[in-house]
Symmetry: C2
Subunit: 216 residues, 2 copies
DNA sequence: CCTCAAGTGAAACAGTCGTTTTAAACGTAC
DNA sequence: GTACGTTTAAAACGACTGTTTCACTTGAGG
């Protein structure tokens, strides 16, 4: 069939998200895709190249959207730089929207992405970071003028605090089902977009707070 | 030799931290430990039980220390509850100290822990969360009275923002070498304890900020 | 009708996986 | 000295790994 490629990609995305890369065999993928074992090597060459293609396909629209949002709010207001909240939102809203859009991978791809971020395989991590390099550069450049009270070191760490809070939050949203199995007292899945606002105001307050005194 | 068990545990910790669970074979472990293949099954029964034992050994001292710190600052000041900063510090300082103490696993175990947190294997994740259940309960109970301005939902999310920022920060510290390979402009590894202060004040400011308005 | 490339089906490749089994060697304690 | 818990050595188990090979079917262009 003509759709063999996309059926392999689809099955692979689901299995990688559920079981990880090294625990997912080529045979699992091709059998879930109802496709011959050889078809995978015919279309993608190897398991590794299949993984690469999968991420390139999903990640570049996400980061293009982030950069477009940043462009718009930087050019938008006319005079003056964008506010701290506007920058944070341009960073955080696109992945949250992606989570709700099954066409772009939805929760499944987000679980996969958070797996790839912590992958033991250095090659995978390098590829992932490569896909994010431009976004990191642009956003830390945009954040700088909004944080004149911070040293370079302090800004570096707070940027990582933000990345951590965001990626863990995305993981929680995308893995809600598993969370309910593990904890009691989990609130109803609230409107996902609200979480963006919550996260933005939490982080903005953190970024704005003065540097802690060293006498401790 | 009498130390066969600990040599296996030591080799396993290193390999699991570097390559992940499913990509590390029993043969790799026993050959790095310079120990016979059968010795691993003799002492631990199976690969899975070896993993379980490894985490129980490392994780319970960490969480006992957290709870002890919380106890002390709750009973300490006499009148009045502990401050938000004191609670956060009781949560964050123990794992940062662990990172600097090779006897307790140091950076190696921290990399392993952050791998286990995102493991595809449901059994591993369940065990990890089980080890943290009491800590989570105690700390969210202690944080509650310090956050009277927050709804239950808002407190839930901010708690996760904190967990995410902390765990990603620990990962960055423990994986510094890899970070230097991937990014430019990484600051010198500053005094690790300073990071605790930075993180505590960042998070305290986030926790204290009022709930964002919905009109957006 | 013939041809040629794209794609499929099924089998086989050489390894590695976790685990078990057998045998023989240890040091230590009763 | 002999029993016991520990450790080594070496081989084998069946199952599974990523990848390759090759005969086969299919459909479109000349």
């Amino acid at each position: 069939m003509l759709e063999t490629r996309s059926r392999i990609l689809n099955a692979a995305e689901g299995l990688f998200a559920d079981r990880g890369f090294s625990a997912t065999s080529v045979r699992m993928i091709t059998s879930r895709a109802k496709v011959n074992l050889a078809a995978m090597h015919y279309h993608f060459g190897s398991k590794d190249q299949l993984i690469q293609e999968l991420f390139a396909l999903r990640l570049s629209p996400l980061n293009r959207q982030r950069l477009a949002l940043l462009d718009r709010c930087q050019a938008g207001g006319g005079a003056g730089e964008p506010s701290l909240e506007q920058i944070l939102e341009a960073f955080i809203r696109p992945p949250v929207q992606l989570i709700r859009d099954p066409e772009r991978g939805g929760m499944r791809f987000m679980r996969l992405l958070s797996r790839a971020f912590n992958s033991p395989d250095g090659a995978i991590r390098e590829m992932i970071y490569g896909q994010f390099a431009e976004v990191i550069e642009r956003f830390s450049g945009a954040l700088g003028p909004r944080l004149p009270h911070l040293s370079r070191e302090e800004a570096f760490w707070r940027f990582h605090f933000m990345v951590g809070a965001m990626s863990h939050t995305l993981h929680v949203i995308a893995d809600w089902k598993n969370l309910e199995n593990l904890f009691t007292d989990v609130p109803e899945p609230s409107q996902v977009d609200e979480v963006v606002d919550r996260l933005v105001s939490f982080l903005a307050a953190g970024f704005r707070t003065p540097i802690p005194s060293k006498e401790n």
